[in-house]
């Protein structure tokens, strides 16, 4: 791996930047690996990296039906946060934030990490009670989630309009200083480059069409659009399509896939320097490094693999935006997208072995960009050792049999 540094940039500038190698190889597909990871998104690549780094397992192929990082990794709003309700969720995402803080250095790749805080605007007594409970739960574990008065919200978000006339009068705010954003493509590329440097193979445009089973039903490989590949273990990291892929192995999972849309405005000068979240009206907005306002809301309230814009939800989000930020009426929207997020019956992640031996799943991320580093760390541990990582013991599929639900909800999406 060619390392990036001031010196290497200067040296390559002298040769007109023609001396850079490809960030990862594209080797021919072999017919056997120790581990096949299905899905080269953030979670799949992070898992491959941690398999190689912590466990020395490098005979690994990450196979991807499309291009690397082109699924939900390219279809989110790149927000990283740790404001959850359950103890295990808070600890888990706190570790994720800390890994993100060090990621540029760890992977020698600038992911444009920007820890800029999230400010929630609370507009109902029920939400205030709910978020104070979250705040107290988080106080036991470290990440901050502090109640602030409305004046303080207005001071930190001067772009917000006069709040006196809004339909739901603001009551207070919550400040989550650990919340951050990072460049989503860079996260996928940096993990791909680092995993490749440790010997992992990445195979793009290789779609899984079925599973290879032995006489006892154990999964011993995958059928792909480029041929049969045998594997000791097959690990799914196919966010959005996990039910669809797992069904090919006869496996049914407690998942529903939904569309989560977002859109960006034309670029403007710096006007918002925090991530603004308004859970009562279903709106969040932040400003990207390019100056575009990134705007999103709740999930579309129907099962969907559409990966597009659902007009009814779009209207709701825009109505909330122009009520709280009247000056944004003048903005034009540049583009929109939707991600196919899947969430489990209790809206917590699943990192687990399955009833089908040799087949593992990491799913239910409900918007998993924030959990890429810790998701990979814990999934790799499960694959390598056969036992769940201490941070992820509660995330097994067995929790449904024991009715040990871990009820969580998104910040905006729980409406």
């Amino acid at each position: 791996m060619q390392r990036f540094s001031f010196l290497s940039l200067a040296r390559n500038a002298l040769s007109h930047h023609e001396g850079w190698h490809r960030a990862w190889r594209s080797p021919p597909l072999r017919d056997t690996y120790d581990v096949v990871i299905v899905g080269a998104g953030g979670h799949g690549l992070s898992t491959a990296y941690h398999l190689a780094k912590e466990h020395g397992i490098t005979n690994v192929a990450v196979i991807e039906k499309s291009w690397l990082g082109g699924g939900n990794t390219a279809r989110n709003t790149h927000t990283i946060r740790a404001n959850f309700l359950r103890d295990v969720s808070i600890r888990f995402h706190d570790v994720s934030v800390k890994l993100y803080e060090q990621l540029s250095r760890e992977l020698n790749y600038n992911i444009l990490f920007s820890q800029r805080s999230m400010i929630d605007l609370i507009q109902s007594w029920g939400k205030l009670r709910d978020l104070r409970r979250r705040s107290l739960a988080m106080a036991l574990h470290g990440p901050a989630y502090d109640l602030i008065p409305v004046d303080e919200v207005r001071r930190r978000i001067p772009a917000m309009g006069d709040l006196a006339g809004v339909r739901l009068p603001p009551l207070a705010g919550m400040a989550h200083p650990e919340a951050a954003m990072a460049r989503h493509d860079a996260v996928a590329w940096s993990y791909a480059r680092a995993a490749d440097a440790r010997g992992v193979e990445i195979h793009q445009h290789t779609e899984v069409t079925g599973f290879l089973r032995d006489a006892h039903g154990r999964v011993i490989g995958v059928e792909t659009s480029r041929g049969t590949v045998r594997a000791g273990q097959v690990a799914l990291a196919t966010a959005g399509n996990t039910s669809h892929v797992a069904a090919k192995a006869g496996l049914s999972l407690p998942l529903v896939t939904r569309n989560l849309q977002a859109f960006v405005s034309e670029p403007v000068k710096p006007i918002i320097d925090v991530i603004v979240n308004c859970p009562d009206v279903g709106l969040y907005v932040m400003q990207s490094d390019k100056g575009e306002l990134v705007i999103g809301g709740g999930t579309d309230p129907i099962p969907s693999y559409r990966q597009g814009s659902h007009v009814a939800t779009f209207e709701d989000v825009v109505a909330s935006l122009v009520e709280l930020f009247p000056r944004f009426k003048a903005l034009r929207m540049l583009r929109q997208w939707g991600g196919a997020i899947e969430f489990a019956y209790d809206a917590s992640p699943i990192i687990s072995k399955t009833d089908v031996e040799g087949l593992l799943v990491s799913t239910g991320w409900y918007g998993g960009f924030k959990s890429i580093p810790v998701g990979g760390l814990t999934y790799a541990h499960l694959i390598a050792t056969g036992a769940p990582h201490p941070l992820a013991e509660a995330f097994g599929l067995d929790r449904f049999t024991g009715l040990r639900f871990l009820l969580e909800a998104g910040t905006v999406a729980q409406r």
Partner: protein, 91 residues
């Protein structure tokens, strides 16, 4: 915006309804199942990419629950596959 055909009210806009998700068969008798089968019947979903049967509650009008077939990729509402009735309505 979806236009959903309610058997009692005719074609009505999506905003009058609440989607109750995938149409699942009536709950089986828990006494006849293992713990795993019972949990699966509660939580597991087919989560089909394509045409599936789902229930909608016409909450802001007649208040009744109906079943439609809708493609989860295109959102197009369609008649069910030939010879396949919607799963039995929830009690």
């Amino acid at each position: 915006m979806l236009q959903i055909s309610c058997p009692w009210c005719g074609l009505r806009p999506e905003g009058e309804f609440v989607c109750l998700g995938e149409a699942v068969p009536p709950r089986p008798d828990p006494a006849a199942l293992t713990a795993g089968e019972w949990a699966a019947s509660l939580a597991n979903r087919a989560n089909i990419r394509g045409l599936h049967a789902e229930r909608w509650w016409h909450v802001r009008s007649c208040g009744r629950i109906l079943t439609i077939w809708r493609d989860t990729v295109t959102h197009a509402i369609a008649p069910g596959p030939d010879g396949t009735a919607a799963p039995e309505a929830a009690p």
